[in-house]
């Protein structure tokens, strides 16, 4: 009969020692009661954070210039969303994992056209606006090159963009309907109508906030608030929570990679970190089969602390 060699990191010798009474139901009940009480105490003492959502209305009233400049970036397609690439559009290749263009291969399956979705369609929803209606018609009839010239003129002048008495002022004389668009969209945002227009573009019922969230993220207002709350990426924001509440602390390793080279300066940081974390997850999953890694517990002998009583008993015998 063939006998296998005993592998201490894989095999166990049959337990020949004794047994002691064990009431699994009682143990489970006590644990549930203790955890329930602990949860109750934490909830009563510390509560939980609930900062109200930022609206486009609050953003455009608090920092109208930032909103107007962001609206322009949606119209001239220089915003983060406009230039994002997949899954929103085909404006860029997106991040690459070595030679792999993962996002590009999947394609624009959540289509977002910032000109149409963030500016033109919302403006079209405004009632009783004869000037705007005429400007929208002018825009739709204009060629791509004409639109580009209007946008170039307005963008050049927007360095001195101001909002005075609720009116967006820019000294651009050859910008076609663009000044009206930016002004009316800013005023629309300040009334709260743009929040609604962005979520209800396609149907009455919706739970999809892709458009308003992308618009918000393109501006500086949301990120400034987050920075103030120490939530940005370079502040370990992925695992932080508002105030002093514990957040997703279990994401510490994922967050850690973003703080160090080459990830903190790479244009492909997201996909690199995701790739690394996926690889590490597979390693964790396969620890029982990886020589060396599975020997660490035996070699470090931390198990002697865990099973202290067992080894003390063995020594006494």
């Amino acid at each position: 009969m063939r006998t296998k060699r005993f592998r201490p990191d894989v095999d166990v010798a049959p337990w020949k020692g004794g047994h002691s009474p064990y009431d699994i139901i009682k143990e489970g009940t006590i644990a549930l009661v203790v955890v329930g009480l602990l949860t109750l105490v934490f909830a009563v003492v510390f509560g939980s954070p609930d900062e109200p959502a930022v609206t486009i209305k609050t953003w455009s009233n608090a920092t109208p210039v930032d909103f107007a400049v962001t609206a322009l970036s949606e119209l001239n397609q220089t915003s983060g969303s406009a230039m994002y690439g997949a899954p929103y559009n085909n404006a860029s290749v997106g991040q690459k994992l070595g030679p792999l263009e993962l996002a590009k291969w999947v394609g624009a399956r959540v289509p977002v056209n910032t000109v149409r979705d963030f500016v033109i369609n919302p403006l079209k929803s405004l009632p009783d606006q004869p000037v705007l209606t005429a400007d929208l018609r002018q825009w739709s009839k204009a060629s791509a090159s004409t639109r580009a010239l209007w946008l170039k003129d307005y963008t050049k002048a927007s360095a001195n963009l101001k909002v005075v008495n609720g009116q967006v002022t820019v000294s651009a004389n050859n910008a076609g309907p663009v000044p009206v668009f930016i002004n009316d969209l800013t005023q629309m945002a300040q009334t709260g109508a743009l929040d609604q227009a962005l979520v209800t573009q396609s149907e009455f019922y919706t739970t999809n906030f892709t458009l308003p969230l992308l618009f918000l993220a393109d501006g500086s207002y949301l990120s400034n608030l987050a920075q103030h709350q120490h939530l940005s990426g370079d502040q370990w924001g992925m695992m932080n929570e508002l105030g002093n509440y514990p957040g997703q602390a279990w994401l510490w390793l994922y967050t850690f990679w973003y703080q160090i080279p080459p990830f903190n300066s790479s244009a492909n940081a997201d996909v690199l970190v995701w790739g690394l974390m996926m690889a590490l997850s597979v390693v964790l999953l396969l620890v029982p089969f990886i020589p060396g890694l599975r020997s660490i517990p035996r070699k470090t002998r931390i198990y002697r602390v865990i099973w202290r009583e067992h080894y003390q008993g063995s020594a006494e015998e």
């Binding site: 489970g28 644990a31 602990l38 939980s48 997949a86 996002a103 987050a226 620890v287």
Partner: protein, 208 residues
């Protein structure tokens, strides 16, 4: 129906197989090996208990819908219970995981037990994440707009849109908890089938 026919039934075979694998005295044991005596064992049952509280508090939140807790003090308190039970759940689970690593708990044919535990851990991270982006407040706005870049970069964002609150909420309250509970049940059954891993034998070098 003949006796042989009954013996061949899928139900009969499955019952026999299950009882063979997990007889009642293993499923609900009344004794355990004497080496099962350490503070580390507390964290497995603590994780399970916290999961029960997470699901119970989440179910209470579900009763009145995703925005109830913003407008009701009772709802906010239930949300606090949900948050803290999640924190306890992850704390206990991580200690449990590290404890099992340093016990080399995969030994003796327990690799599948380890692997179901790891997958449960990863599934729980996804479940918690979808909860964070379904809060319908500033937190969820910021987390979702930041997290989208990581997920989109992998190509997964085309199908798993973190800016789609409805989709995230469905994953959070149904798909991922279901997966976590099924995986946890499988993990616990494997622990019961294989038993708790014994300590390293320091002086014995015998047959496997």
């Amino acid at each position: 129906m003949s006796y042989t026919e009954i013996e061949r039934q899928w139900t009969t075979r499955l019952r026999r197989r299950f009882v063979h694998l997990l007889p009642p005295e293993k499923l609900l044991p009344d004794t355990q090996p004497t080496y099962v005596s350490s503070w580390i064992y507390v964290f497995g049952v603590t994780t399970l208990s916290a999961l029960v509280v997470v699901i119970a508090s989440g179910s209470l939140l579900a009763l009145r819908g995703p925005q109830w807790w913003h407008t009701s003090s009772v709802g906010h308190f239930v949300n606090s219970l949900h948050l803290w039970s999640v924190e306890i759940f992850f704390f206990a689970m991580v200690v449990h995981l590290w404890g099992k690593y340093f016990m080399a708990a995969w030994r003796g044919g327990r690799a599948l037990t380890w692997m179901t535990g790891v997958v449960t851990f990863l599934t729980s991270i996804a479940a918690a994440f979808t909860g964070y982006v379904s809060q319908t407040n500033f937190d969820s706005q910021w987390i979702s707009t930041q997290a989208k870049d990581g997920i989109n970069a992998t190509g997964a964002g085309a199908y798993f849109n973190v800016l789609n609150m409805g989709q995230m909420l469905m994953w959070h309250i149904l798909l991922l908890p279901l997966a976590a509970v099924v995986l946890t049940a499988l993990h616990v059954l494997l622990v019961r089938i294989k038993g708790v891993v014994p300590p390293f034998e320091e002086h014995v070098e015998v047959n496997a």
